[in-house]
């Protein structure tokens, strides 16, 4: 009886171990590709591989990653991988593209667990929420929802998600201006 259970777990463990080894490299490549696609979305037109060596800044609660997008020698902008822990379902991650002067080019959601049909409207294409940030400069665009006297039109019935989104973008901009 004990021996049978032992054999079952042994076979399972061996199977899992080999599948893990086999899929490790494809998973890493797939994640890298996904990251590159997210960067391409928020700072289009580069021809280097920004995800190769990101700059890292540690802030309270987590880490921010900076990916510099270049075309030839010209810097097109910086994609900042930022986060918030105050989403409706906890953490979510955004990729924010800044032009060299600090203007927001575009924002993409990398990973989130917000309510489908409500908070997930922050994703590009699901609503026009992210469009209002495009081309704005955080210095003269108050990154807070209108309820908090900011300039951001929140998603209906998803004020918490909208607030967290603004907080993540603000965090990215703060770290970026400190880095300069």
């Amino acid at each position: 009886m004990v021996a049978t259970l032992f054999v079952v777990t042994l076979v399972s463990a061996a199977l899992l171990g080999s599948v893990y080894e086999l899929t490790k490299e494809p998973i890493r490549l797939a994640e890298l590709k996904k990251k590159n696609e997210a960067i391409l979305l928020v700072v289009p037109g580069f021809d280097n591989v920004p995800s190769e060596k990101p700059d890292t800044v540690t802030v309270e609660g987590g880490e921010l990653y900076f990916y510099t997008a270049k075309k030839g020698d010209e810097v097109l902008g910086t994609a900042v991988e930022t986060f918030t822990n105050n989403g409706f379902s906890g953490e979510f991650k955004l990729m924010v593209g800044f032009a060299p002067d600090g203007t927001i080019i575009d924002i993409a959601v990398i990973k989130h667990a917000e309510t489908p049909g409500l908070g997930d409207k922050m994703e590009k294409g699901k609503s026009d929420f992210s469009v209002q940030f495009m081309g704005q400069h955080p210095d003269n665009f108050n990154l807070a929802v209108m309820k908090d006297r900011g300039d951001v039109d929140a998603i209906t019935a998803s004020t918490i998600s909208s607030r967290a989104y603004c907080e993540a973008v603000q965090r990215a901009y703060d770290a970026l201006s400190q880095l300069k």
């Binding site: 009886m1 004990v2 049978t4 259970l5 079952v8 777990t9 399972s12 199977l15 899992l16 599948v19 893990y20 899929t23 490790k24 490299e25 494809p26 998973i27 797939a30 994640e31 590709k33 996904k34 667990a113 309510t115 489908p116 049909g117 409500l118 209906t156 019935a157």
Partner: protein, 195 residues
């Protein structure tokens, strides 16, 4: 055993959601849209078929006293293999379903079929049972997802049919219980008519 009867029982007569009330946690949790329901259903079907196959293969060598832990290990192994392979080779599918895949392990439907059916029946019958139960589960989740999506966001499979925000309640958990309750009534009416 009549294999057609074995296959079709999963749709209405012994439907996992509407008649057996198994696997209700993922049922209520992920069915905010029809496409989520369909994805969760198909992923569960795959695991159900595979675990039924393996359990009926090894049923004679596993002693009765340790069968439950052995089945759980087999199911969890399958789910993890599916997750890793999907992550590495079809990342776009993983993006859509990734969230639900670990949830399959705790779906009592999978363990329920391993215990109640696959451990007592032939390989072929267990395969058919897994497919029938899985597709019945998929149907239930898709219908529930479609109802909630239609009422909650005025859309069907992501296509916006009615403009506006819809009834917020149906996106939130209470809406899942309400919609499921009425669907069970409907399923029982169909069952009574056919029998």
């Amino acid at each position: 055993m009549n294999q057609w009867k074995n296959f079709s029982k999963g749709f209405i007569k012994e439907n996992a959601v509407f008649a057996l009330f198994l696997g209700l946690c993922p049922t209520l949790g992920v069915t905010t849209t029809a496409i989520n329901g369909l994805g969760m259903g198909l992923a569960t079907t795959f695991v159900l078929v595979m675990s039924n196959l393996v359990v009926s293969l090894v049923k004679n060598v596993i002693p009765d006293k340790v069968r439950i832990p052995a089945f759980i290990v087999i199911i969890a192994t399958f789910v993890t293999v599916v997750e890793l392979v999907m992550k590495g080779y079809v990342p776009s599918l993983f993006d859509a379903l990734g969230l639900f895949i670990p949830l399959i392990v705790v779906n009592c439907l999978v363990l329920g079929r391993a215990e109640a059916f696959a451990s007592k029946n032939t390989i072929w019958s267990s395969l058919v049972d897994g497919a029938g139960m899985g597709l019945g589960f998929t149907m239930a989740l898709t219908v529930l997802g479609a109802v909630r999506e239609l009422l909650g966001s005025g859309a069907f499979f992501g296509m916006k049919l009615i403009s506006g925000d819809g009834l917020l309640l149906f996106i939130l958990p209470p809406g899942a219980f309400i919609a499921l309750g009425y669907l069970i009534v409907l399923a029982n009416m169909i069952k009574e008519k056919t029998s």
